[in-house]
Symmetry: C2
Subunit: 304 residues, 2 copies
């Protein structure tokens, strides 16, 4: 199987000027415009991150790449290339594999990301896809998660919660958004929310050596979080979904206060940027109660 | 689980000067000494590439990296870094995961390869490990598989066949050997033998637009191929094992005739370099019969 499939893939993938050696040799050779290479890797698995029998194979391939592009975006880097390893059940029809790649390649094309290599395997188990993505820092360097400072405003892109109702398969990685914000504003830190807003914000504070005080009334809650909460079997409020559901793939930013004021007033993106609290000196995650006192907020989300 | 495990891993992995941002952020940032980056990716799976319940977990991690380093070696590049994605069965003890990483890190250390990131997941299925490795070309550039020319001698490192008896878990990727040969000799092409000598040689001829004439009496046959063939249940000769067994992870080189004479006479490596035939104009794989006539040789090996 593999050689036919590799032949198909080579024909499907256009030549790219940054690819010195592409698919078909023992390794690929990528020409970067800088010595500094941003690298992330994420694996998605059938039954955990998607259910192959219940969704379009294109969306599976799309998601496998999108979660990686979201990580590149979180560094405010420009994606340039990716390699794809997969293990598919040996009875997976070749057309399903091709559809998976088509979904992946469509998203890659949209972000000028060259698919430069891969490893296609079969086994008697469900599908697992591992992608490693490469990016280039801009002239401002990368934006890490450990730079938040007490007094910085927490600014979030988009809305939170309920991604499981469908958005987790079709979300747009915030690549262009991160590049634009990094170019035009002074930002201290950035992270993508993959495991839950409160859990990932807590990780960001730990990396930065500070805490965060959330203004819960300002959290942008998605329609899907409301729909999920309205189900009779559901025990969480829309806000609780927004704080704990995984796979939002929105960005949370640490922005100096004066710059945050300009950012929120300007609203330079197609989606809303919302201030949801501030980073504080006290470690941990906090909320303000009705009397104005700080009380601890338990970080919740998806632990792998 | 993941955050404790990531904390352990961060503590286990020494700081490396080439790693600008290491494990713990959304992505890693690697400082290369050149704009050109060699990249390969390979996935190994329980039940296909190893049997986790029957071997030391260290060897599983070691193999996951070794197959990738073999691909970097096949390009005659210098390995510098790797990222590791894995999906483990959710009941896998944490100590087993750590042992897998220890085996991987030991081999990484031996090749000055920094482990700069990863993604650790659990699911209800057997273990799959995907590694992407990065290398740097030397000043001579990379050595591709498509440069073999009619008249070039086929030179092989080491011995072939029977890797399944144990060598597939402990083989040494030919990294130093490839770098040394590339630096000191004029070579036209190189490939690592992962799926079987005759099958991979056939792929090398296809990539190079030529054929290959093997001198079967010169193929270096491993002791393991003899042992495997001697089993009462076995139906292949030692030579057939050498030609078709997968996972030798030796190198096959295309060497101009005069240079091959010098190479074979000098024997610059710790292991034997053996001329096993020549590349020829006629496409396909050939052997000489006892009357001196060329007859086709069927490429055999492991198809994924």
């Amino acid at each position: 199987m593999e050689s036919d499939f590799v032949d198909w893939l080579r024909g499907r993938i256009p030549d790219q000027p940054t690819v010195h050696v592409g698919i078909g040799d023992d390794a690929a050779v990528l020409d970067l415009s800088t010595h500094r290479c941003v690298v992330c890797t994420d694996m998605v698995m059938d039954g955990v991150d998607f259910i192959l029998s219940e969704c379009a194979p294109r969306l599976v391939g799309r998601k496998a790449l999108a979660v990686n592009l979201s990580d590149i975006a979180a560094m405010a880097a420009k994606p340039v290339a990716a390699v794809v390893s997969l293990a598919a059940h040996r009875e997976t029809p070749i057309d399903v594999l091709k559809e998976i790649y088509e979904g992946l390649l469509e998203l890659a094309d949209a972000h000028n990301t060259a698919v430069i290599g891969g490893d296609t395997n079969s086994w008697d188990q469900p599908l697992a896809i591992s992608i490693t993505a490469f990016g280039e820092p801009t002239s401002k360097g990368v934006l890490k998660r450990d730079g938040a400072q007490p007094g910085d405003v927490i600014v979030a892109t988009g809305n939170f919660g309920g991604s499981i109702l469908g958005r987790h398969l079709v979300f747009k990685p915030r690549v262009e958004e991160a590049l634009r914000l990094h170019a035009e504003y002074e930002l201290h830190a950035c992270m993508d929310v993959s495991d839950g807003l409160s859990l990932d914000l807590h990780r960001m504070t730990r990396a930065s050596g500070c805490g965060a005080l959330l203004n819960l009334s300002t959290i942008p809650i998605s329609d899907a979080a409301h729909r999920l909460s309205a189900r009779s079997s559901d025990e969480l409020s829309p806000l609780e979904h927004a704080l704990s559901d995984g796979e939002d793939f929105e960005l949370i930013l640490a922005v100096p206060a004066s710059e945050a004021e300009r950012l929120v007033r300007t609203q330079p993106l197609d989606m809303r940027l919302t201030p949801i609290g501030e980073f504080v000196r006290e470690h941990g995650l906090w909320q303000q109660d009705t009397a104005g006192e700080r009380v601890p907020l338990q970080p919740r989300g998806y632990e792998h």
